[in-house]
């Protein structure tokens, strides 16, 4: 018995094919992982399955219903968590739960869910004030209300730390009945590897469907296989790094955080945070959601005034001379923050110009970036309409466009497909070799291994600083993920 049957499905947007003659069956009672490169049509497929979008051609049957004509009946049987989950940020945790319970016509019995999500003591907190991981858990809890027959989750773990990610997985596995079907789209291949079935999409087509375990026994191998399926990744020399013109400077520690503190009321968001990053070093900030990484980041680049302490970039104090300090900085924010109304090329032009690249240099540089990042096809598209992974790519491109000697990257790889992630890190590592200093945060523990040094952040403080192997040795962990969990647990004591 299949929950979803799709035959010859096609969907076009403004002349571009998003889903291309796709046929697919999703088995009842199984967890199916949806994997694919950015823009491969994952979100569109999910939206078509539940009738939020209408197909151009082809047939879809979900739980025996036609989403085109029987959407109302279908809605009663499904739970859908969109990528940007619709929590009402100005409502509290419990108010959100009550709302979605009423919308699904189920009793207000949240004990078990609150327990599972560890949200019990935050019941009266506004959803907007929760950390990213907690938001996603609350969102999932709302979707799980009323025990839907079919659960559709669109990248629920984007931007979520490893601990919360494990919680999300546990929630789904423990709280659903054996008959429940789950369709889970994800960019984390360790997650996908643990599912019953994996579906790999590429350019709107299914290129693989089967048991992930059959494809590869280990996560690492699985990742390589998926990359091969998606066309393979060939490591080439990073042209960004090749064209990088080093800036002469005799500052040894190019980025210095000097006792940074941020106090909100009587709550320390960040507390005596100090570190020095050498020229050409990749320094990783790791930690659970809400630990104070982004707050530190914002203070480091002068977006937020520290309560005390300061930061120096290329020796320039950010609080005293912000304009000069920032001139050396390439910054990529956690949330997409380019102009959505401008096209890809217009954004690149704009950021190049405000960083002082003009006329012929501008044209040359922008063409180069378009070529390196593969924006040729999308250069005329409004950036707001791009898939998440493309937006991240564009953000990175804009941060790199003026050849900054220092890069601040806040979760650059969140929502980015596995191949692009490798490309990103190829650029980052090559740039570092050329002398670019990089400060980066990430929730991918395999990426943490690429860093020269790591500062593990928890509850506003750095609980451990050192090289990845030093940290692993410290708690005798085999992987970075294990070290992360152990170090956090240790500091709890």
């Amino acid at each position: 018995m299949d929950t979803v049957t799709i035959e010859h499905l096609t969907k076009n947007f403004r002349g571009m094919t998003a889903i291309d003659d796709l046929s697919l069956k999703i088995e009842k009672g199984k967890i199916t992982g949806l994997i694919g490169s950015d823009g491969s049509g994952k979100t569109t497929l999910i939206r078509l399955i539940i009738g939020l979008l209408l197909p151009d051609h082809g047939k879809i049957s979900v739980l025996g219903l036609n989403p085109e004509t029987q959407k109302d009946e279908l809605n009663k049987k499904i739970g859908y968590m969109p990528q940007k989950f619709g929590l009402y940020e100005d409502l509290t945790v419990i108010e959100n739960l009550r709302l979605y319970a009423d919308l699904k016509n189920v009793a207000h019995d949240f004990e078990k869910l609150l327990e599972f999500t560890n949200l019990k003591k935050f019941q009266t907190r506004l959803a907007g004030a929760l950390s990213g991981g907690m938001k996603q858990k609350l969102g999932l809890a709302c979707v799980l209300l009323g025990s839907p027959e079919f659960l559709l989750l669109d990248e629920p773990s984007v931007g979520v730390d490893p601990i919360s990610r494990r919680d999300l997985m546990r929630m789904v596995r423990d709280l659903i009945s054996p008959e429940t079907t789950v369709l889970w789209s994800t960019a984390y291949l360790d997650e996908a590897h643990s599912f019953d079935t994996g579906v790999v999409l590429n350019q709107g087509k299914v290129i693989y469907q089967g048991k992930p375990y059959d494809l590869a026994k280990t996560t690492e191998e699985f990742e390589n296989k998926v990359i091969d399926l998606m066309g393979g990744y060939r490591k080439t020399k990073s042209r960004i790094a090749e064209n990088y013109i080093p800036k002469n400077s005799d500052v040894e520690y190019t980025v210095v955080a000097d006792n940074l503190e941020k106090l909100y009321g009587n709550f320390y968001a960040v507390r005596n945070n100090s570190f020095k990053i050498k020229k050409g070093e990749i320094f990783g900030l790791l930690g659970p959601n809400g630990a104070g990484k982004s707050t530190s980041f914002k203070m480091m680049c002068g977006l937020l005034k520290p309560t005390s302490g300061t930061a120096r970039i290329m020796g320039v104090d950010i609080t005293e001379d912000p304009e000069n300090a920032r001139a050396n900085l390439g910054y990529m924010a956690q949330k997409f923050s380019l102009y959505e109304a401008l096209t890809v090329k217009q954004n690149l032009d704009f950021f190049a110009e405000i960083y002082g690249i003009h006329d012929e240099n501008l044209k040359k540089r922008v063409d180069e970036i378009i070529d390196i990042f593969g924006f040729f096809q999308t250069r005329g598209q409004k950036s707001g309409e791009l898939p998440l992974g493309f937006k991240q790519k564009l953000s990175l491109a804009c941060a790199l466009i003026h050849n900054p000697p220092i890069l601040f990257l806040d979760e650059p790889t969140s929502g980015v497909d596995v191949i692009t992630r490798r490309e990103f890190w190829n650029h980052i590592k090559s740039l570092a070799q050329k002398g670019v200093t990089v400060l980066v945060t990430t929730h991918f523990m395999d990426e943490a291994e690429y860093c020269d040094r790591i500062s593990l952040f928890y509850k506003g403080e750095a609980v451990a600083i050192g090289t990845p192997s030093a940290l692993k040795n410290k708690v005798r962990a085999k992987s970075m993920e294990e070290a992360f969990m152990k170090l956090i647990l240790e500091s709890e004591k």
Partner: protein, 369 residues
Amino acid sequence: MIEKLKKILALIKKEFIITWMDPKSRGIIIALPIVQLILFSYAITMEVKNIDVVVVDQDNSTESRELISRFDLSPQFRNIYRVENMKQMQNKLDNKDANMGLYINNDFSTNIISHTPTDVLIITDGRQTNSAAIVSGYVSQIVSDYSQEIAPTNGVKINVVTRNWYNPNLEYRWFILTVIVAMLAAVITLILTALSIAREREMGTFDQLIVSPLSSVDILAGKTVPPLIIAMALTCVMTFVVKIFFGMPFEGSIVLFLISMFVSLLSLVGVGLYISSICRTQQQAILGVITFMMPAVLLSGFISPIEDMPVFLQYLTLLNPIRFFMVLTRGIFLKGMNFADVSMNLVPLIITATITLALACWSFKKRQN
């Protein structure tokens, strides 16, 4: 320096692209004001026309019919309804089927023949006192003309000879057009500026600007110039429409007009940017715009003259850019104001512009930290 200008130019270009690329946005900046300009200028008049009169003629004589026919002949009056008694008249007036009532007593003709002064009763509708006052003006004129004609002898009399300078035929449209041009330009300027920073804050793009090497003055300059240019272009288009379509005179100097427009709009841009710089969300920004715009339009002197307001409100209007903008458009269009007169009205505008832009810059810098 050139480097800095190029960066600001990039900011300006970005604003233009964003405002111009979306057809909805174009519609708001062009179609909305032009349609409103045409609509308002045809619709708005203070004159009261098409007045319907309800008449009770108890006398029903040649004389009474003569008086009534005077109403019929007057261009402002439309229908004459004859009813039998006061009750029916009241009914018509209550229901607003007629705008005024005329009651003629049964001794009307007898009195006229015997040259005895006699009254006719005029009833106006006090539910709209402004129209009522105008209607009673018309009626008094008609009755007194009639009275003059039937008077037995010619006595002394004062003729009030009126010359209306700048607008000899008292064309209401000329007055209102200058007002509407200024008002619509003000509305569009506020729309363009007040939401711009708040929107970038909500979208997160503002952080991206702040981490760039642009200074806050650069960013503010980038936010000031585009709406100023758009609003000035729009005002010029509206002026053109007004001149061509409505044959409105333009007595003054174009240069002075451009200067006045520039300064007026600049001070409005200042107001808009200040609102924008203190608001976190777009919702708060519209609230700010309305809280400024409603009083500014109402107290600009176009509905009700400034001299007539309580003194403290009069002082308050010194800060109202729309007030001086209107004085200047009207003065330059109709009166051909010279440089000295124009500059007198520019002073308060320049002060407002300086204050608001400085405030915007200050609160903008403060917010960053």
